[in-house]
């Protein structure tokens, strides 16, 4: 039987070095006994061997900080098994692995609880102030956890004292033997403020001590300044809640604030203001915002697209998404400055269906187009463009009130009394085409249509 005595209870590295030596010698787990602190009894120990990193080392290292005495044997057995069968670690149903995961979980929770529940007390010392905490961890976690506090409280000098070990930080971390509760002041100047906050943030109408204790078991209470307040808060909670429920409403304190002033804008600005609160159809319920047309009120050329997409809905501007990029590129090719034209949509709100967490564009119905075309016609009245380009079937329907096929109408001029309309495809159509040759043809035609429209409007 090999008896290995480790110097410290929390030194995973020393354990691993011993284990490496034992494995190299081929010592099986049932012939090793592990202990901590009996430095006299080194009988049979191998000379610790340098080693490579183990697979699963994080799991083992965490489990080794557990207070359970069998942790060393368990980890050594796992290393022994892994040594013989590399795949052993990959089967989560192995019962030793389940046990290790259980230890690991308890250690991680202990580490987490220490980060949460350490309470520093400020004491003046020769150099200003030092922050000292008394804490009782469930496992040997202080050394592994010190780094967290070093990184968090870099400009503080602090100490955490536990029964087994204490950590001191003065720009460098130093570990020393454990201490006792008496080494740390019982109260801090801010504790009363903290209790005040704790009491005030508690909602008595939601009292639920069982859940509270599942997160914060009683064993932690004695070192938490706020825990003193718990019994009184819990006792008074029901009465406080019932008083609130029973209390009749009092007279309002002051008169209501005056309603906000109405806008007095005219023309397009007025139209935009009215449009912002449009509820003529249900689309406003889901969309972020109404997307108004954009451009000068005296533009000679008006472009009507279908409706805002995801991008436009978020930014509040028309034709700025993927299709907008194509449109902009087309304008650049034909030498037309977007700032000189008026760009708008047949339907002013984004319509979509939810697929998982994505908003997928949905085509507006004829009814929605017809309702929203009222706004489009008001825009036309204000801008009075020489030519309107209908991009796609929805735009054509909004402008004419009838359903025409884009294929049949493309490139032709429709004269509708007040306004002349030229029909072309919607740039989103170009995005959808898969075939490269079709795509090139459609792009060419789109450019020709826009160039023609631009020339007619500028003539």
């Amino acid at each position: 039987m090999r008896v290995i005595a480790l110097e410290r209870p929390d030194d995973a590295d020393a354990f691993f070095e011993h284990a490496a030596a034992l494995l190299a010698e081929g010592i099986s787990p049932e012939h090793v006994s592990w202990s901590v602190g009996d430095s006299a009894d080194l009988f049979g120990a191998a000379i610790p061997a340098p080693r490579a990193k183990w697979r699963g080392e994080k799991l083992f290292a965490a489990a080794l900080l557990h207070r359970a005495a069998h942790r060393f044997a368990l980890v050594y057995r796992a290393l022994w098994r892994t040594d013989g069968d590399k795949a052993w670690l990959d089967n989560p149903a192995e019962s030793d692995l389940c046990s290790l995961r259980k230890l690991e979980g308890e250690v991680r929770r202990d580490i987490h609880k220490m980060r949460a529940l350490v309470r520093f007390r400020e004491i003046p010392d020769g150099y200003g102030a030092r922050f000292i905490a008394w804490y009782e961890p469930g496992h040997f976690t202080l050394r592994a956890n010190a780094d967290f506090f070093v990184h968090r409280f870099a400009d503080m000098r602090w100490s955490i004292v536990t029964p087994d070990l204490s950590a001191h930080y003065d720009g460098e971390i130093r570990f020393a033997p454990g201490g006792s509760r008496r080494d740390v002041p019982a109260e801090d100047a801010r504790d009363e403020d903290w209790r005040t906050y704790y009491a005030a943030i508690f909602n008595p109408a939601r009292l639920n001590l069982a859940v509270m204790q599942s997160h914060l078991p009683k064993k932690f209470w004695r070192n938490l300044p706020e825990a003193q307040a718990i019994p009184a808060l819990a006792r008074a909670a029901q009465t406080r809640a019932q008083t609130m429920i029973a209390a009749p409403p009092t007279a309002p304190r002051v008169a209501r604030a005056p309603a906000r002033a109405q806008t007095t804008a005219t023309g397009l600005a007025d139209l935009r203001a009215q449009l912002a609160s449009c509820e003529k159809c249900p689309l406003h319920r889901e969309a972020t915002q109404v997307v108004c047309g954009a451009g000068p009120s005296n533009a000679a050329l008006m472009i009507v697209a279908e409706q805002p997409g995801d991008h436009e809905d978020l930014c509040g501007a028309p034709l700025v998404g993927p299709a907008g990029k194509i449109f902009d590129e087309a304008l650049r090719r034909i030498g037309c400055d977007r700032k000189t034209i008026y760009v708008t949509n047949a339907v002013k709100h984004f319509k979509f269906t939810l697929k998982g967490q994505r908003r997928i564009h949905a085509k507006p119905s004829a009814g929605e187009i017809d309702i929203c075309s009222w706004w489009l016609h008001r825009e036309i009245e204000q801008v009075r463009p020489k030519l309107i380009v209908a991009m796609g079937a929805s735009a054509l329907r909004a402008l004419t009130g009838q359903s025409f096929s884009v294929c049949d109408s493309r490139g032709k001029i429709l004269d509708l009394g007040e306004s002349r309309i030229l029909t072309t495809t919607h740039p989103a159509y170009l995005l959808r085409l898969q075939d490269e040759q079709q795509k090139r043809q459609a792009w060419r035609a789109f450019l020709d249509d826009l160039a023609q429209a631009h020339a007619m409007a500028c003539a």
Binding site: A87, P92, A93, A116, L117, V118, F120, F131, F148, H151, R152, A154, D155, M156, R190, E192, D193, W194, T196, Y197, A199, A200, I201, F202, N203, P204, A205, R206, L207, N208, L209, V211, M212, S214, H215, L216, E226, I230, L233, A237, M244, A247, P249, R253, V254, R256, A257, A276, R285, E286, T288, Q289, D313, L314, G316, F352, L354, G356, Q357, R358
Partner: protein, 411 residues
């Protein structure tokens, strides 16, 4: 009478407690040692520093800068017509208090909100000033969550994002009509617009791969009050799904409408619907992490309401019994995740373990924490639920014995 700091703290924490959000997770990692000065760190995972007797986590110092407010939202303890005591912190006081609490390790950081005073922009500027003092004068690197005032100038929202880890705008109520009736100064459209602005900024900063990029909040969240209006659970969840889809929210918080001191006459108070709130959180979780579609969740309701006695996944499974039992050794991951009582972690372990041989019931019992809920819905070589799955009594059997309600931990 002049209030001292402690009295103000009591008033302004009391005024903030109806906001359910408390997460301190998901911030950009950084720490005072690495930054070379100051105090504070964000590790990415949140920490609950305490729990109040209502079982809720205390992670951040959650306060209002002031509880004076021009608005008159019927459900709100701070509405202009309420007779509660009023107080205000200066930005300097709030910043100092945050740092003092932080150095004692009471908190992860600050959650700061405010009543609307003077104007939305003026209010937002005060919140920003507090965060600026913390970041610049105190070299504070801890977590900051700023409540964004919906009507504030987008430039202010973007400034707030440069200082905070998280921004949030409260949608308050699930339907526009309720908002009109109960929060007359608020508009769903302005709230959505603010969310869209924040999403745009977060996306832009996330895509900015330059080394010297400005830091920016990494997420936004919102809160909906449950039980103040007549909206049913399906409506609430549909609103959430649309918010997640449209604005990439990290979280929607559900806050059971709770009795408040000096309640408004239009909203008679009663005990808060805590169990309903809990079920909504569970359904929301399925929506975000288990691949459930919003319409599937809606189907799992009874006339729009989630079953209070059964978790939503079990309710869904009972209405889709034809899809069960699931063969543990063959089912794809998506289907494993549909098994009541079986979570993401266990599903992944099952997938890893079954590569080493067929899993039997005792394997499952080692991998999962409890078999009770799982059993009626699975088969293994040594187990089949037989006719249990089709029996009338299954629903009754799955109802838990009366027990304490478990609330959602939120760090």
């Amino acid at each position: 009478m002049r209030l001292d700091l402690r009295q103000k703290l009591a008033i302004l924490a009391d005024a903030a407690k109806y906001d359910a959000s408390c997460a301190s997770s998901g911030g950009q990692r950084r720490d005072s040692l690495g930054m070379g000065k100051g105090v504070g760190s964000v590790t990415g995972a949140g920490i609950c520093h305490s729990f109040t007797p209502d079982g809720r986590c205390v992670s951040l110092l959650k306060i209002l800068l002031t509880n004076y407010c021009m608005y008159d939202c019927a459900f709100c303890v701070n509405r202009v017509s309420s007779n509660v005591r009023r107080a205000r912190f200066t930005p300097a006081e709030a910043a100092q208090l945050t740092v003092d609490f932080y150095r004692r390790n009471y908190i992860e950081g600050l959650f700061l909100s405010s009543g609307i005073i003077r104007s939305p922009d003026a209010t937002m500027e005060q919140l920003i000033e507090t965060a600026r003092l913390l970041r610049e004068d105190h070299a504070f690197h801890g977590y900051i969550h700023l409540k964004t005032i919906a009507d504030a100038d987008p430039a202010l929202i973007s400034r707030a994002g440069e200082l905070a880890d998280r921004l949030s705008v409260n949608v308050e109520l699930p339907q526009e009509a309720s908002l009109k009736a109960l929060a007359p100064e608020k508009r769903l459209s302005t709230i959505r617009k603010s969310m869209a602005t924040i999403r745009g900024e977060i996306d832009d900063h996330a895509h900015d791969k330059t080394v010297r990029k400005k830091r920016f909040a990494t997420g936004q969240s919102t809160q909906m009050i449950v039980g103040a209006d007549s909206a049913d659970d399906a409506t609430i969840l549909r609103t959430s799904a649309a918010l997640y889809g449209g604005y990439r929210l990290r979280r929607v918080y559900y806050s059971a409408f709770s009795p408040i001191p000096d309640a408004s006459a239009v909203l008679p108070v009663r005990a808060p619907p805590l169990q309903r709130e809990h079920r909504l959180y569970q359904a929301d979780w399925l929506l975000r992490n288990y691949g459930f579609d919003i319409e599937e969740l809606a189907e799992a309701t009874d006339d729009g309401m989630l079953d209070l006695d059964l978790d939503p996944k079990t309710s869904w499974a009972l209405k889709n019994r034809a899809l069960f039992p699931v063969d543990i050794n063959r089912a794809p991951r998506e289907m494993l995740l549909r098994i009541p009582g079986l979570g993401v972690r266990v599903a992944d372990r099952v997938i890893a373990a079954r590569r080493h041989g067929a899993l039997r019931l005792d394997d499952i019992s080692r991998l999962a924490s409890s078999l009770r809920k799982i059993l009626p819905f699975i088969t293994t070589p040594d187990w089949s639920p037989g006719s249990t799955l089709d029996s009338e009594g299954l629903k009754q059997k799955l109802r838990p014995p009366p027990r304490q309600l478990e609330l959602f931990s939120c760090a």
